[in-house]
Subunit: 493 residues, 2 copies
């Protein structure tokens, strides 16, 4: 057994340590010398690239175009949107100087005190301010609307406690920023993009999500409504996986962005913003993987099929390769990414463990006996089930198997999730059961006081008012006051 | 005529102003409130995305994988590679604090003096230092080599004089960083990637380039050799469009990166780095465009074909659309990106000028007479030639036309370039003729003194020792000393 795999913490022993181990051992990411910033390694980045490509195509299908706005934002911009200061400007990286010089002894370098900026610049924690300052010049008339822009970029928030992918000071994301003539159109856009996120999570990541709307406390700074998709991890905790915000006219007012409507009268523009980040990698890893390593959905796996020969000598290897090469071609033609690992510096057992650790969805093994019998061994990573199949027609089998794995791991995650959603009406019971994780559907009186008490008592937070759940009025389990609807309460990442 | 077009400066009047005008009026980019940083608008970004996609596929075909390294680099890293300090660390953006707080009157925000970093962080001007600090952990044995990594990211150099795309403080680029067991392999890699850049420039951008090696003065800080591709703009100036560096063991020594060779002995690792940036957009714009606006190579044009109906009433428009819709489908199936502009808030003349300004390679126009005659008007943007063609079979014609335009604009640029490359052996003559631009092939004695004198007298620099040019020994035109080869001397961007 490969050393990497042997050292992987088991989920039951320490779920959190299992996650950290897996990120490192599966070559997804590692820590860097800069506090809270990670290095995304090629294998991890290849998964992120696949996510990006799928999301980007989905955005574009709704009419969104990409653009690029500056990394640095003048400090004064943050002061323009009052809630934004409190929400974003505080824990940010601040650029104060623009030059270094040699130290007097000539051996080191130091900041040149004469190269101090007149106004400090902030590394973007999010770009609403810069973008709305720009939209002011782009929007004159209703004919210029809507504007549907997105950017893929890095952002920075000076986080105190960080974990790879889940919470890092620098992270990669996309941020969509749209401008509309009416409130209705903006609200529709915000919900549409939430739908895109949910579609992507479920149909690409195979991660079931609950769509809903955030409570006021959990809203994005400057938003009138924040919509969210919440996924459940294998420890029953929630991971907020994407958010979409209806920003009303807040940013338009802060940056004085008006348009002439059809009656030639000026109106403030309506806004949305929406984003997902490398945090999605955390959800992907945590939802499907097991004690043997990663389990990746075939649609996002950098390598979908690995083929490993087992041979005693060069002659056998040559005979196996002669069978495998046309199969490789056939699979490639089907659009399947396949790797033939005939490297001779690692034993088959090491390779098996390594590709399991890396979550390659399907493994084919061919040995001398297979060669004789015209067979091949096929293993699926999700269930680790093996079968010996006729070599003839195996490409078609693999193609169907990949579809099946995608479906199976989604169903498995959905069942787990559904089995851990509970309606609960008793606060004492809630406090006890929340320790084991899960999403709790509880009536809420709508006050921040109740929300704060739950958080203080249990560390759990209101994740959202879920969509598509049949609501009934009831009684808040904490305050005893009347409640209009149930919300989902859970501990979260 | 559209106002935007009317205001476009003519190349002959002021080439530099023509470029700036074009970037703004064709909606490619605009300046931002942050000094030297630009906003890349959706139309400009769509071209950059096409460049990225093509380059990325070419890199990957050579075995390169993408990864992501932190934006911020500890100041001390730059002190480790002596030449790098002088070359890169000096004019950089420096992060000194990590928190803002409200001012005492509560109305503004200010930097929290208590949140001062122990060590300042530099926004990456390039990532050799961070990456080689990382490679130290990735490389133990010859089996770990080669490492072929690339990242697409933003970088920042505090430039004093900036121009959109050509020189900006923040820019987007890719930086490849490879690690090898031998000097030969690293040198081969550096040359291979230069070849990829030349291939991309010529076959995608339709921009002919001279490949060559830089003089010591013009080398990248920390490199033993810098290879370059140099393109000629329409004013005869050179634009360095991509560079690839053989870094020897400099960074391995600075960051102590060794590997055990096959004999189990430690050796320092050999390195290359190579990059192209949004600067390529500048070359693309300047090489092909004319006084009517952009001319884009079909392979990189976001819209390859625009179709404009001319109708007197709704009935005519409907009849035209009924003909156009199946054509749109046919073109789309051929992989051609096509836009049907039947918007009724702009006159056809405005549309014509606007799509010329934006460089759409092919324009189709259909009016009432075409409808009667079963014809369509086809215009190619590069020559502005129009023909009336039978509507039947026009999709095939357009497909061939796009290929022809790609070839024609490359040939035109190549001819211009070749007509402006001169061998020159007389310094007085050189000083006179360099004023009109062009690449001058001159014997050079190899000294930095001669190089400095030429620059001081004429602002021209040695661009490279060109590859594939039959060299002869001769006499340096400035110093009169013996010279082993001719170099290309030109004024540059």
């Amino acid at each position: 057994m490969a050393k990497e795999l042997k050292d992987l913490t088991k989920r039951a022993d320490n779920y959190s340590q299992w996650y950290n181990d897996l990120v490192m051992k599966a070559d997804l990411a590692e820590t860097s010398p800069v506090r809270g910033c990670m290095i995304i390694k090629p294998y991890g980045y290849a998964i992120w690239e696949k996510m990006q490509a799928a999301l980007d195509a989905m955005f574009k299908a709704t009419g969104v175009q990409n653009a690029y706005f500056p990394l640095l934002i003048p400090k004064s911009f943050f002061a323009k949107e009052a809630e934004h200061v409190a929400g974003f400007a505080k824990e940010s990286a601040v650029v104060t100087h623009y030059r270094l010089k040699a130290t007097e002894d000539g051996k080191g370098i130091t900041v040149d005190p004469e190269a101090k900026l007149e106004e400090e610049l902030i590394i973007r924690p999010t770009s609403e301010t810069m973008i709305w300052n720009t939209y002011k010049n782009w929007i004159k008339s209703y004919r210029d609307l809507p504007i549907l822009c997105n950017q893929w970029c890095n952002v920075m928030r000076w986080e105190m406690r960080t974990r790879p992918f889940l919470r890092t000071s620098e992270f990669l994301w996309q941020e969509g920023h749209t401008a509309h003539a009416t409130s209705e159109e903006a609200q529709e856009e915000a919900k549409k993009m939430l739908g895109v996120y949910a579609d992507f999570a479920e149909n690409w990541m195979a991660v079931p999500v609950v769509q809903g709307v955030k409570s006021e406390t959990e809203r994005f700074a400057g938003a009138l409504d924040t919509y969210t998709i919440e996924a459940m991890m294998q420890d029953g905790k929630a991971l907020q996986s994407g958010t979409s915000h209806f920003l009303g006219q807040n940013f338009a007012k802060s940056f004085d962005v008006t348009f002439l409507n059809k009656e030639n009268k000026p109106e403030y523009v309506w806004a949305t913003s929406w984003g997902v980040s490398t945090r999605l990698m955390g959800a992907l890893i945590m939802v499907h993987s097991d004690d043997n390593g990663l389990v990746l959905p075939p649609k996002l796996a950098p390598i979908q099929v690995v083929i490993i020969p087992i041979s005693k000598n060069a002659e056998q290897l040559e005979a196996i390769s002669a069978k495998i090469n046309p199969l490789m071609e056939e699979l490639t033609k089907m659009g399947i990414s396949v790797k033939y690992d005939d490297s001779d510096n690692k034993r088959p057992g090491f390779k098996f463990a390594d590709y399991e650790l890396k979550g390659v969805p399907v493994r084919l093994v061919m040995g001398a006996r297979d060669l004789e019998n015209g067979t091949v061994e096929v293993m699926r990573r999700d269930t680790l089930e093996k079968e010996i199949l006729p070599f003839e027609g195996v490409a078609n089998h693999v193609q169907h198997l990949l579809v099946d794995i995608q479906k199976t791991i989604f169903e498995k995650a959905r069942q787990y999730r559904d089995n851990h959603i509970y309606e609960c009406d008793n606060y004492e019971e809630f406090k006890e059961r929340i320790k084991d994780g899960g999403f709790f559907l509880c009536h809420w009186d709508g006050t921040t006081e109740t929300e704060a008490k739950i958080k203080e008592d249990t560390q759990a937070t209101i994740r959202c008012v879920p969509f598509g759940y049949e609501q009934t009025e009831g009684v808040d389990m904490v305050s005893g006051k009347p409640a209009k609807c149930r919300v989902i309460i859970a501990r979260s990442y």
